[in-house]
């Protein structure tokens, strides 16, 4: 791409300016930027909630928060991090990068895309509004059931539950719209010659994610709708007195909830191999094996849900089925791990920030996966269920496996998106601070869980004091080092060393053939893939 083409494109970038540009935009890059910005803001809101919790847990006894408020923070922290931070970040990258990676001029359904994003801010407001309302004496605060909405507690809860139910409805509609858009884009908008098996891995990860979302989000929407009618319209889906069953909610919820784990992770499993091949300067190992493994995991994801509530009571054959099918997921996952490592094997590796995050991600996500295998064991789970072991496990998968993956992607694509290089020095500092404080936060929680500290309780026995103190201090370091991340992104967006088109020496793929930043309208002539 020469500079004249850039100039040519700039002329056509006629869009309204100011706020109207962002409200009415149908441009995939603008929408991607909005998703990513929204995600970053919500990451800090969700993060500050958990810092309040860690401050309370710094010492045994009740110091800062009353238990009701503590419970509300726990549930809203989870919902925000899952639905408003991690999922929008992945969708933001999808919007930015999928059209560039497959040589499409834009997403297939640009207006739907705009609507999909603008449903998010209202739902974030719905989630957090009850906190503010409670200050004015309306209602008793936000959802206090934990993010899982289990009845009968959620049937008895205050208006916070209703707000959360409607927020989940909006978030669900938003992600279903986003998924439909991504599926249609990937099936119909690929550049001529790019067969499905030539798609970049990120596109594959998102394709399977999108199918999982379309298939399971409606089940969650249905379950919370039943909860709503149980609360207000006299139905008894989950009320044993009326012939219902509270355990059924757990089945419905986790039928969505377990695939949700892979919804959060599959996009990351998509772009991490691309980062690894870039900085190892050799082609990705086992492309086909990785694609088939992604499909296998996507398929297994919807048939293993009941391992989230082994202790709720199930016949032994059911326990065994859910245990073995859960453990079976580790087989395709092991194939993926093997391919990731083999991609780096004997490569001429260099460790820029994205690569640091990617390599650290493999190790930390590996710990998350292995501790999951422990929890899948029915006999062991009886002890670990609802303990801090579980909390540490899913933070290894969702913070390390999810958010640190997203950070790797951010550093990887930031020069492409902004046209400037970020500060490598600050990036590396951010990585080391994050990786070390993350481990110091959650390794003690494994031990706390093994020793029997239950999750979601604002107070604890004296014997847990030291580990909680370490965990709280590290959590604050972890939280505040994310300010470096924001500073680096903002200063990179404002200026800095010009990035080349290819940005990274070993980068391959269509997005690196465009100028950095790419013009407002890219690939109006589709490239041909041979």
């Amino acid at each position: 791409m020469s500079t004249t083409t850039v100039a040519h494109h700039e002329e056509h970038a006629d869009h309204p300016s100011g706020i109207m540009r962002w409200l009415t935009t149908t441009n995939h890059k603008d929408i991607g930027t909005m998703y990513l910005t929204f995600s970053l803001i919500m990451f800090f809101i969700g993060g500050s909630m958990i810092l309040a919790i860690r401050a309370e847990l710094f010492q045994p006894g009740l110091q800062l928060l009353n238990p009701e408020f503590f419970n509300q923070l726990i549930g809203v922290h989870a919902l925000i991090m899952i639905f408003a931070a991690l999922m929008p970040a992945a969708t933001g990258f999808a919007n930015w990068m999928i059209p560039l990676q497959i040589g499409a001029p834009d997403m297939a359904l640009p207006r739907l895309n705009n609507w999909g994003f603008w449903l998010l801010p209202p739902s974030a407001i719905l989630l957090t509004l009850p906190f503010t309302l409670a200050l004015f004496g309306i209602g008793d605060g936000a959802l206090a059931t934990g993010w899982t909405f289990y009845p009968p507690l959620s049937v008895q809860g205050g208006i916070g539950v209703d707000f959360a139910i409607f927020a989940v409805h909006l978030l669900g509609i938003s992600s279903v719209l986003g998924s439909i858009n991504i599926i249609v884009t990937l099936f119909n908008m690929r550049a001529p010659g790019m067969t499905l098996m030539k798609m970049p891995m990120f596109a594959w990860g998102w394709l399977i994610t999108a199918f999982l979302l379309v298939a399971t989000i409606p089940v969650l929407a249905g379950a919370v709708t039943m909860l709503l009618t149980d609360r207000h319209f006299g139905t008894h889906f989950f009320d044993a007195a009326g012939g219902g069953d509270p355990i059924m909610f757990q089945h419905l919820f986790w039928f969505f909830g377990h695939p949700e784990v892979y919804i959060l992770l599959l996009p990351v499993w998509g772009f991490i191999p691309q980062i690894l091949e870039t900085f190892s300067r050799k082609p990705m190992y086992g492309y086909k094996a990785q694609v088939y493994s992604l499909w296998a995991i996507g398929a297994l994801a919807v048939v293993v849900w009941a391992h989230h509530f082994f202790t709720a009571g199930m016949p032994v054959p059911a326990l065994l089925y859910f245990m073995y099918s859960t453990m079976a997921i580790s087989l395709p996952l092991a194939v993926l791990f093997f391919c990731w490592i083999k991609t780096m094997w004997k490569g001429s590796m260099s460790f820029e920030t994205p690569m640091l995050f990617a390599v650290g991600w493999i190790i930390l996500f590996g710990i998350g996966g292995l501790t999951g295998l422990v929890l899948a064991d029915v006999a062991a789970d009886a002890q670990y269920h609802n303990s801090y072991f579980v909390v540490a496990h899913f933070h290894y998968t969702l913070f390390a496996g999810g958010i640190m993956g997203i950070m790797a992607g951010t550093y990887y694509w930031l020069p492409k998106m902004t046209g400037h290089m970020y500060s490598e020095k600050l990036g590396k500092l951010h990585f080391w601070l994050t990786a070390i404080s993350f481990n110091l936060t959650f390794i003690p929680q494994f031990f706390l869980g093994l020793a029997g500290m239950p999750r979601r309780i604002p107070d604890y026995a004296l014997q847990f004091a030291e580990f909680n103190m370490i965990s709280s201090i590290a959590a604050f370091v972890l939280g505040f080092s994310q300010l470096l991340f924001v500073y680096n992104i903002v200063s990179c967006a404002r200026g800095g060393k010009k990035a080349t088109d290819q940005v990274w020496e070993g980068a391959k793929g269509l997005e690196w053939t465009l100028p950095s930043p790419p013009p407002y309208h890219s690939f109006t002539e589709q490239p041909i893939i041979k």
């Binding site: 929407a221 249905g222 889906f237 007195a241 069953d245 059924m248």
Partner: protein, 196 residues
């Protein structure tokens, strides 16, 4: 999925030779969106279909310890004097009922096939008439189908006047078909405020 996409790729090309490339893509997109919306509608319906499915599954397998809430026919099977089964009782009163409720005996040892009667006692501690409904559940769930109730206060709503105390009988037997490895079971009753 891969195959079907290729098929209609070709089909739409034939039908729409006259259209511009942009219109063709729009048409293809619309078709695929329509299909995907059907998937969304399908999985929404599936969520609600799971409710009756779950009920059927629980009754068939005893999952969750659900038992039939209707009277079983009298035992015609021979009493199996060769083994003992220990049936324990536990009770809960759910919020909003205001009753005391407990079994007269904590457990009973019986031979499979033998009909026994156990008395539960309920007392209304409030000063108004309260209607309640007991919901049974059996552990282990796999044994649920083998506990046969002939007469139970849980079959119908129970009404207690202010301060009234009532003996509530349960007549039941354990079917001799109870799997050999089960020697203990727990029958739990949760008393709920009756649904109006």
């Amino acid at each position: 999925m891969v195959c079907s996409v290729n098929v209609y790729n070709m089909a739409s090309l034939k039908e729409t030779d006259a259209l511009t490339a942009k219109q063709q893509i729009d048409l293809k997109n619309k078709k695929l969106v329509r299909k995907l919306i059907w998937v969304v509608i399908g999985s929404s319906l599936f969520a609600f279909a799971l409710v009756p499915l779950y009920g059927v599954l629980c009754t068939l397998t005893g999952l969750n310890g659900k038992t039939n809430n209707t009277a079983a026919v009298l035992s015609t099977a021979k009493v199996d004097n060769s083994r003992w089964v220990n049936v324990q009782f536990t009770t809960n009163v759910m919020p909003g009922l205001g009753w005391n409720f407990y079994p007269k005996q904590a457990s009973i040892k019986l031979h499979p096939g033998k009909i026994e009667t156990v008395i539960f006692i309920a007392k209304n501690t409030t000063n108004e008439v309260v209607i309640g409904r007991a919901v049974p559940s059996i552990t282990p769930g796999i044994a649920a189908a083998n506990l046969k109730k002939i007469e139970c206060f849980c079959f119908v709503n129970q009404s207690l006047k202010p301060g009234e105390e009532k003996e509530m009988p349960l007549r039941f037997f354990v079917s001799p078909e109870l799997p050999k490895d089960i020697s203990d079971m727990t029958l739990s009753y949760a008393f709920f405020p009756a649904v109006k």
